[in-house]
Amino acid sequence: MDFSTLIQILDSTLRLATPLLLACLAGLFSERSGIFDIGLEAKMLIAAFFSAAFAYSTGSVWLGLLAGIAASMVFAAIHGLASITFRGNQLISGVALNFLASGMTVLIAQNWFQQGGRTPSLIGGARFEGIELPFAIGPNEAAETGRPLSELLSEAGPLQLLYSELISGHSILVYVALAAVPATWWILYRTRFGLRLRAVGENPAAVDTAGVSVIGLRYAAVVIAGLLCGIAGAYLATGLQAGFVKDMTAGRGYIALAALIFAKWRPWYALGACLLFGALQALALRTDVAEAIFPFKMPVQLLDSLPYILTVVILAGFVGKAIPPRAGGQPYVKER
């Protein structure tokens, strides 16, 4: 495997890890506050559809992003209503939302666009384009110098290549996702809100005794999760791909959940886990490279299921122990 192939794989790792990372951080906020969320998939899917639909009909990807976030927030609100206000089973609520999103998106897409449950392909301003960072070799520089891009890249040194191909040239949402990691860390560990959020996931009664609203904190966490999933879904439909197709999240919500456990509910580890799982997805797309890396013939099915297998191993406690927030999944009742 040569250097440029490696960069290609890393590049697609970063792209594929972005929706995972955003959804994983969404789950992190929610679960750290004590609300299990297996509806990450649902929120991403509904956001993917509404962002693509609005981006297509308005021609502006930013309006699409807003619509996606709004749709995701509505689902987050339903989850909050069921699991916080009505103290229902959080897992069942998540399952229900996954079905709702899977069905509703196709139903509405068929009704609006009549293309068999998909949106028309997005072009131009209806998509997030890659942004070229300063000093990177990209289409802009090629246009200025009047030489083809491939020629410029072949002359560049490895460091310049790494910078131009891997770090530069992604859509803005990729950088947003990366920036969300330190932001999440800062919010959780350096703000009063974060301290309370973590406390409410461990011991809500103590937080309540201190005079802080458990319900308010948990709703805040669920809404933040909605926001992040909305961005993740919008990235899927308007950044990674050009339009919505049926069930396009393809289990990413569950992989994000797996990454969250793998990361033991911590932001920086979440980045690592999502990059790892993103790399596995990137390798599954490039079977030629996968065959070159592994000494034996690696079935693509094994590559696909590695995130899940690794998560089970972690859950089994053979490689470190993943301990979820203590009050996770339990509705809070003020007085019994």
Binding site: I38, I78, L81, A82, S83, F86, R87, G88, N89, Q90, L91, I92, S93, V95, A96, L97, N98, F99, L100, A101, S102, G103, M104, V106, L107, I108, Q110, N111, G117, G251, Y254, L257, A258, I261, P299, Q301, L302, D304, S305, Y308, I309, T311, V312, L315, A316, G317, P324
Partner: protein
């Protein structure tokens, strides 16, 4: 003290939840510019109006009875087995391996063997998450979700690399020998009711009915069933009474996995006659809705399974005759799970208040 009489808990609450889900579904149909009343009429006509419709409705219902019972048994032990999908997938693999192993002379021999194969493979797929839950404290929901995906990958690998006949490009197994073909409703009832030949419902429906009875006996008439329910109500009390958590977790999950796996005799052996990718088609997840609606009781599961069979067949008719995509069924399914499962308290609390108020006013009148 119970606030509500039992009939309100068992019948009234699920019924109101169902009505709410139906009202929202009707609004969804209105929203996409169709007539909900016409849609309902078409669904009833298509699913229940003819032996053909019933044949399909009961075929789907058979799957949902198995997966619904699977979720119910686990629910009684306070375990949430969301892995019915993966267990049914592996059950299909078990059926295929049994059916392809021998040139079976007659279905009466093949059926018990295939049922055993399905149950064993389904149980095996539940065994690892169950063991991890019992011994290592892993969360059963997350591990069973992960095993759904791993199961799909296993099936994919087996079909592409092992079971696929060399001459075929399709990721599917070879056709099963003729001796494994199960009697369909057409063969079974031909003198009395004329089910068309194409109807996929088969003798597995009767096995599903037997399974309902067996599960009822198991849960309410055996020692193990008592321990299971005790454990589900209060783990600490059960442990104090000398009930082993490992035994209950492993036992309930193995039975649950076996039931989910047995669904495959209906789809793989009964209908397709070979193993294909995605023969489960989400029935494992529908089991959750069925168990919630049926309040985890076999009789309730039977009724709820037939209701979902009706929705499935009716939904197919809608897709065929009106411009309503099949996914409407997925929406209705989501709404039913939402209202009967997650928003249960939203329905329950006002009803409880009504009963409390009635009791108080009656007491006041008596004094």
């Amino acid at each position: 003290m119970e606030v509500m009489p039992k009939w309100a808990d068992v019948v009234l609450v699920p019924l109101i939840s169902l009505v709410l889900a139906m009202i929202i579904s009707a609004l969804v149909i209105l929203g996409i510019g169709e007539d909900p009343w016409a849609a309902l009429k078409l669904m009833v006509q298509g699913a229940l109006g003819s032996p053909y419709g019933w044949g399909y409705t009961l075929y789907y219902a058979t799957n949902f009875i198995f997966t619904g019972l699977a979720v119910s048994v686990a629910f009684h032990a306070a375990m949430f087995n969301i892995g019915g999908e993966g267990q049914a997938t592996l059950g299909g693999l078990g059926v295929a391996l049994v059916c392809l192993a021998l040139p079976w002379p007659h279905w009466a021999l093949a059926l018990p063997a295939a049922t055993l194969g399905a149950a064993l493979f389904g149980a095996a797929w539940a065994a690892i998450p169950a063991y991890l839950a019992a011994k290592r404290g892993s969360h059963i929901v997350i591990t069973t979700i992960m095993f759904n995906f791993i199961g799909a990958a296993v099936l994919n690998y087996m079909l592409v690399n092992v079971l696929r006949p060399p001459s075929s490009m399709d990721p599917a197994s070879a056709k099963f020998p003729d001796g494994t073909a199960l009697p369909s409703f057409h063969d079974m009832f031909s003198p009395i009711i004329a089910f068309p030949k194409s109807v996929p419902a088969n003798i597995s429906f009767l096995i599903a009915l037997v399974a309902c009875l067996v599960v009822w006996l198991l849960i309410w008439r055996t020692r193990f069933g008592f321990e299971l329910r005790a454990f589900g109500k209060s783990e600490s009390a059960a442990v104090y009474a000398g009930i082993s958590p490992t035994k209950i977790i492993m036992g309930s999950m193995l039975i649950s996995g076996a039931l989910a796996g047995m669904m495959a005799i209906n789809t793989v052996q009964g209908e397709a006659g070979r193993l294909v990718l995605n023969s489960v088609e989400g029935a494992g997840f529908i089991g959750i809705a069925v168990a919630l609606m049926g309040r985890s009781h076999p009789a309730g599961v039977l009724i709820a399974a037939i209701l979902f069979g009706f929705l499935y067949q009716g939904g197919a008719e809608l897709a065929l005759w009106m411009s309503i995509p099949r996914e409407l069924v997925v929406v209705i399914q989501g709404l039913v799970i939402l209202f009967t499962g997650a928003l249960d308290n939203m329905v329950r609390m006002p009803i409880e208040r009504v009963f409390l108020w009635r009791r108080r006013s009656r007491q006041a009148a008596g004094e």
